[in-house]
């Protein structure tokens, strides 16, 4: 089930949608104008804390033959990696901190502590996911080409294995992300430009070699007799980060309230309609400040999708204005506790491992639309990029 026209679905007139767009633009302007010392201090402090935790974890692991130090070191490192990937890396690469004019905290040259090269992430995430959010056939994040997450996606007997693939994806999340922009299916069908493929593989290989070298060769070797324990603790830290980021990310668009759209929606889509699609296609989760920092403020997924390049420390404050706005226009605003949101995502994964006729839909997106063809769209079949989703360069794709 998917929506072909967001206006019609939300029962709003063209003028009302345009007015909503203006109100959201106004929020953007106000936040942009109020960015200042406190925001800069926030990201600098966070980076300091994150690097201190990482260093503390590495040092603690010199004693990793002693069980408590093993777990303490792995824990410190896991927290550092989670902060780096989620609240720092993901957000910096969206360009949330580019306004500071600081080349050390800038989307154009940030590289993050995970297997995927930043250039490829910025293409697959900033452009493909953020611009085409939840549009069937356009947003490759609907199941990541591994899971069937929409009833419109054609069932295949291989989908019966979804519970297993899901567990593997959660465990090996960073490797799944690393290969995401490659488009394995296109490679299998021999549709991928071999030049681009070679370039991307080279980027991935270079990055993976450094990442693996650090966690499984250099630091273990440095701790000498604790080689095995240090390597194991590093693996545990990476695994923890994988499971955590997998769960947070699956709560962004897979709970029942986050709706899907057909390609009719993005034909001549206005900026205001784009805003509306972002609200309808994303799901928040509730929690305290610590939970929000540890999840890169993606508990404010709706606000993040409306304003991908505004500083994440402001999303909480933005949500206090977006939510009443949604109530005013009668637009659903999906949110709930983390366990419920993830529970819904998991239920969909399990249900959709079966053909549609065995299950009922939990979503209320609209009439059933025809099945969409498998495979991805190439960049030249897509509309041009919106600047606010964050940059990417042709280094990743051409």
């Amino acid at each position: 089930m998917a929506i072909a026209d967001v206006k019609e679905y939300a029962h709003l007139t063209e003028e009302e949608v345009a007015e909503l767009g203006r109100e959201l633009d106004q929020i953007r302007v106000e936040i942009e104008e109020s960015r200042g010392d406190a925001d800069a201090a926030y990201i600098n402090r966070l980076i300091t804390v994150q690097r201190t935790l990482a260093a503390a974890g590495r040092v603690t692991l010199f004693a990793s033959r002693w069980k408590p130090a093993f777990f303490a070191g792995a824990g410190l490192l896991a927290v550092a990696k989670i902060l780096e990937n989620m609240e720092i890396g993901h957000n910096v690469m969206h360009g949330q901190w580019d306004w500071m004019n600081d080349p050390e905290i800038h989307s154009s040259n940030w590289e993050w502590d995970t297997a995927q090269p930043a250039e490829q992430w910025k293409h697959s995430h900033n452009y493909i996911h953020h611009q085409f959010t939840n549009v069937l056939g356009y947003d490759n994040d609907i199941g990541y080409g591994i899971l069937r997450m929409a009833r419109e996606q054609k069932w295949h007997p291989a989908n019966l294995g979804q519970p297993v693939y899901n567990a593997l994806l959660a465990t090996l999340f960073q490797w799944g992300v690393a290969l995401h922009d490659l488009d394995i299916e296109a490679i299998r069908k021999r549709e991928k430009d071999p030049k681009v493929m070679k370039k991307q593989l080279r980027q991935i290989w270079r990055k993976v070699r450094r990442q693996v070298g650090k966690d499984y060769v250099f630091f273990p070797a440095l701790t000498g007799p604790a080689f095995v324990q240090t390597a194991a603790a590093n693996a545990l830290a990476n695994l923890t980060r994988n499971l955590w980021s997998y769960m947070i990310i699956f709560c962004g668009h897979f709970p029942d309230g986050a709706l899907h759209f057909t390609e009719e929606e993005i034909e001549d889509e206005t900026r205001s309609e784009w805003y509306l699609r972002q609200v309808l296609g994303a799901a928040n989760f509730t929690g305290g400040p610590l939970l929000h920092i540890m999840s890169g403020n993606l508990g404010y997924q709706i606000e993040h999708h409306l304003f991908p390049d505004l500083p994440s420390n402001r999303y909480g404050q933005i949500s206090e204005r977006v939510r009443p706005l949604c109530e005013k226009y009668g637009i659903p605003y999906t949110t709930g506790p983390l366990h419920r949101q993830y529970g819904q995502a998991l239920r969909t994964i399990l249900k959709l491992s079966l053909p549609n006729r065995f299950t009922t839909s939990d979503r209320r997106d609209g009439p059933h639309s025809p099945e969409i063809p498998r495979g991805r769209r190439a960049d030249d079949e897509r509309p041009v990029r919106r600047t606010e989703t964050g940059g990417w360069t042709s280094r990743a794709t051409a």
């Binding site: 800069a40 201090a41 300091t48 450094r210 940059g391």
Partner: protein, 358 residues
């Protein structure tokens, strides 16, 4: 590259295996903010008031700094104000030193310049600033000419001060005439030091022009202030109208080669390019730009969120990738062609149609 520098580079490379995707600098700077060469940094050690609206900043540069600046050159300084880095260039007023390991720049607060006011009155000792390596060709040749003339207005004294201090320290001050314009005696930066220098060196002739009481130094007065100006190599630094008048006067006398100018707001070399259509691929925007408009200005006018820093070709904040086409550096006429050529958008203009990656 010196031996210590080579050792440091090797250590950095080895260390990066541990700190990837970061550099060892990113962790060491947690211990001491100056222990990083990723972006050049300095700590403000002292803020010395010179006049009521000018101050000298003594800065201790961090790792990666090279102390080989030539007297008269300027450095870029980047200061974070309301969370955002702003860049300006200022002449180094201290002579080059092997020891001591600080540099001094002297700044006058301009009425319209919020950054210069911030530097003069808002900067606390201990502040960490960003730096760009010394640059500029407002320097004396080696050995210095036998007869020199300096025409200076206001804070234009700073590069000349570095030159004079160096000549004084070496004890080789040649025949120098310094004509220094300033509104009042009180507003003369380095006034006392210059007068003291002039009493110690009989070969230094200081002419003070207090423009509030005596008016501007007219070019017609030059024959009185410095009768043999035609025989002297001349260096001039000050406000743009003053420099324009000097430039014209020297041109009319057919002595352009003997004149060296330092402009605060550099007219970018006078080079132009052919202009053309600039395409910004990621934003899908295009615009027509003439050959005197920089790529940065063209992009800003087209509504592209262009990164920028010093806007004078120093800090590289504005660097973008040229995908296709050619741009020309307006300072020196150098051309850069895509694909994948990093170009400084603030000092380059389109030489034909070109495409940028933003």
């Amino acid at each position: 590259m010196g031996a210590t520098e080579m050792v440091r580079e090797t250590a950095r490379k080895v260390g990066a295996g541990f700190t990837t995707p970061l550099l060892p600098d990113d962790y060491l700077s947690l211990l001491n903010p100056l222990w990083t060469a990723r972006e050049l940094r300095g700590r403000v050690e002292k803020v010395i008031p010179e006049t009521e609206d000018a101050a000298t900043l003594v800065i201790r540069p961090g790792w990666g700094w090279r102390y080989d600046h030539r007297p008269g050159q300027y450095v870029g300084i980047g200061v974070q104000v309301r969370g955002k880095f702003h860049w300006r260039s200022y002449s180094v007023s201290s002579p080059p030193k092997r020891s001591g390991r600080t540099i001094a720049i002297t700044v006058r607060a301009m009425p319209e310049g919020f950054l210069s006011s911030h530097l003069v009155s808002g900067l606390q000792p201990g502040t960490i600033v960003r730096l760009a390596l010394p640059n500029g060709d407002f320097v004396l040749p080696e050995p210095p000419p036998a007869k020199l003339l300096f025409l200076v207005g206001g804070s234009g004294i700073t590069p000349v001060m570095a030159i004079l201090r160096t000549l004084d320290r070496r004890g080789t001050l040649p025949d120098v005439v310094l004509a220094y314009s300033s509104p009042t005696p009180e507003r003369m930066i380095f006034g006392a030091e210059l007068r003291e220098l002039a009493t110690r060196h009989p070969t230094l002739h200081l002419h003070e022009q207090h423009t509030d009481t005596h008016g501007m130094l007219a070019m017609a007065d030059l024959d009185r202030v410095c009768p043999d100006w035609r025989q002297r190599e001349t260096w001039a630094c000050g406000p743009a109208p003053m420099l324009d008048a000097i430039e014209e006067h020297w041109h009319d006398a057919g002595l352009t080669e003997r004149l060296h100018l330092e402009r605060f707001n550099p007219v970018l070399g006078g080079e132009t390019a052919e202009g053309g259509t600039i395409t910004f691929i990621n934003s899908g925007k295009t615009c027509q730009a003439d050959g005197a408009t920089t790529v940065l200005e063209a992009g800003e006018q087209a509504g592209v969120g262009m990164p920028y820093g010093c806007r004078m070709g120093i800090c590289h904040t504005c660097t973008l990738t040229l995908v296709q086409g050619t741009v020309r550096d307006l300072r020196n006429g150098n051309e850069f062609s895509g694909p994948n050529e990093p170009v400084q958008t603030c000092v380059t203009a389109a030489a034909g149609d070109c495409t940028l990656d933003i």
